[in-house]
Amino acid sequence: MIEMQDVWKEYGNGVAALSGISVQIKQGNFVFVVGPSGAGKSTFIKLMYREERPTKGHIFVGGFNIEKLRERQIPIMRRHIGAVFQDYKLLPKLTVAENIAFALEVIEASRRMINRRVAEVLELVGLSDKGKMFPRELSGGEQQRIGVARALVNKPSVIIADEPTGNLDPENSWAILKLFERVNDQGTTIVMATHNRELVNACKKRVIAIENGQIVRDQERGEYGYED
């Protein structure tokens, strides 16, 4: 499903964010990516949907060879991945329903299909009554649930989330995690970078720990393992 082979990433200023990462994530896995700030978690995540390019190495995500991807294929690849961000990345001038619909409009889905799917995912995240509101009218937790709804609306085979609970209180963080567990139960792969120790320790999922750009730990039913 997701495979990295000896992946290196150096930024223009010579800082090595990742040094020789190799990892395999199978379809249906639920993986936490943990590690101190600046360890390379975000880079690890960004490489997977081609927001960054690897300096060296191979990355495969859902049948796409990321480093060989042509410019025009990037959007196609991203439609197979649901991305969830710490800052939600909702379009401020679109309503909640329009934000979710956007992910379907880019694949030129029919209006009927869009309306149906938007209603489905809104119900899934428990915000059916908020479709006509604008993101700024929602709480942070609600906005992130919309972010998840948008990621799910295309029925992606993998969800990649970069600190999705970073701005949320514990209650809302749990709500997001429960959502992820539900879609994971239906076979969707989840890769989630996080600083949230409680979530990681409570879930007993696979944990990949990154420090100084390298994987220092990769265990099934792992623990968070840091003191911060």
Binding site: R72, R78, R79, K89, L90, K93, E105, V106, I107, E108
Partner: protein
């Protein structure tokens, strides 16, 4: 691209005009101001063009026929004048007709002519094909046997043609400078307005939108802003010009072109320029933020 996607882009383009109200206002204002000035320049140059045509049409050579030429050979003389190179038209004015015209011009003083008989000669009014050739045509006319003398305002002709040419050249340079300045102004305005939307563009790309998909609504939006930016000065110019035509009575050779003629042409040019500026500005600016 599917039709429903085009429909979607059109809808979004319209919505964006309102969602980004202030930016729309700023961009449309920039386009309007530029096109207003361009429109004034166009109306001026159309009327200058008209004036020069008027004047050139009035540049005529009065060729006076010698009294010795008998009436029956006048048609022959007319033909030989018509045959001269560079002659557009020849019109015969009989001495009787000339006297009538003079009486009219003198009005109450027409009595002065009484008892003089008819001192006026027969006359041919000759026009050159090319107004700039009036002088040389006049020389040929004068050399034709049977023509006693010719009159044409050569000083006036030369000076007037020089002025017209200079005004025309100046107008062209003025318009070019304005257009360059306008395009600069507009592209800056649109750059600023789109800069604030770079985050939106970034999000769209992360959700899997192609560059073309993102550009679609911007294209529609740019077109609409261009049209709006042309219609506003078009309306202002229409009212101003109509007011001018109605309230100022020009004296010959000055005359105003009709409002509909001037505004039809000006508006067409303004809309074309506006749409071009709008689309170009939007697409150039959006391109900078598509690299995500």
């Amino acid at each position: 691209m599917k039709i429903r996607t085009m429909g979607r882009h059109t809808r979004e383009g319209f919505k964006n005009l309102f969602r980004n109200g202030w930016m729309t206002f700023a961009s449309v204002s920039a386009v309007s101001v530029t096109l207003l000035i361009l429109g004034i320049a166009i109306i001026l140059s159309l009327n200058i063009q008209n004036l020069s045509v008027n004047v050139e049409n009035q540049l005529q050579i009065n060729a006076y026929v010698a009294d010795s030429v008998p009436t029956h050979s006048l048609p022959v003389l007319e033909q030989s004048l018509q045959a001269l190179p560079g002659v557009r038209s020849v019109k015969f004015v009989s001495k009787e007709r000339a006297l009538q015209t003079m009486r009219k011009q003198l009005q109450q003083n027409a009595d002065l002519l009484n008892g003089l008989g008819n001192p006026l000669p027969n006359e041919f009014v000759v026009q050159a094909i090319d107004p700039n050739q009036t002088v040389s045509v006049a020389h040929e006319v004068k050399a034709t046997p049977g023509i006693q003398s010719v009159q044409y305002g050569q000083d006036f002709i030369n000076k007037f043609l020089a002025v017209i040419t200079a005004v025309r050249d100046a107008a062209i340079i003025f318009i070019i400078v304005l257009l360059v300045m306008g395009i600069f102004l507009i592209s800056n305005t649109i750059k600023v307005t789109i800069f604030t939307r770079r985050r939106e563009i970034e999000i769209m790309k992360l959700v899997g939108a192609t560059d073309g998909f993102i550009r679609g609504p911007f294209f529609v939006e740019g077109t609409l802003m261009g049209v709006l930016g042309a219609l506003i000065p078009g309306f202002i110019l229409n009212e101003l010009y109509r007011w001018l035509v109605n309230s100022v009575t020009p004296f010959p050779p000055f005359s105003f072109l009709s409002t509909s003629f001037v505004i039809d042409r000006t508006l067409t040019i303004l809309i074309l320029c506006g749409v071009f500026m709008g689309i170009w500005g939007s697409l150039v600016s959006v391109r900078r933020f598509l690299r995500v």
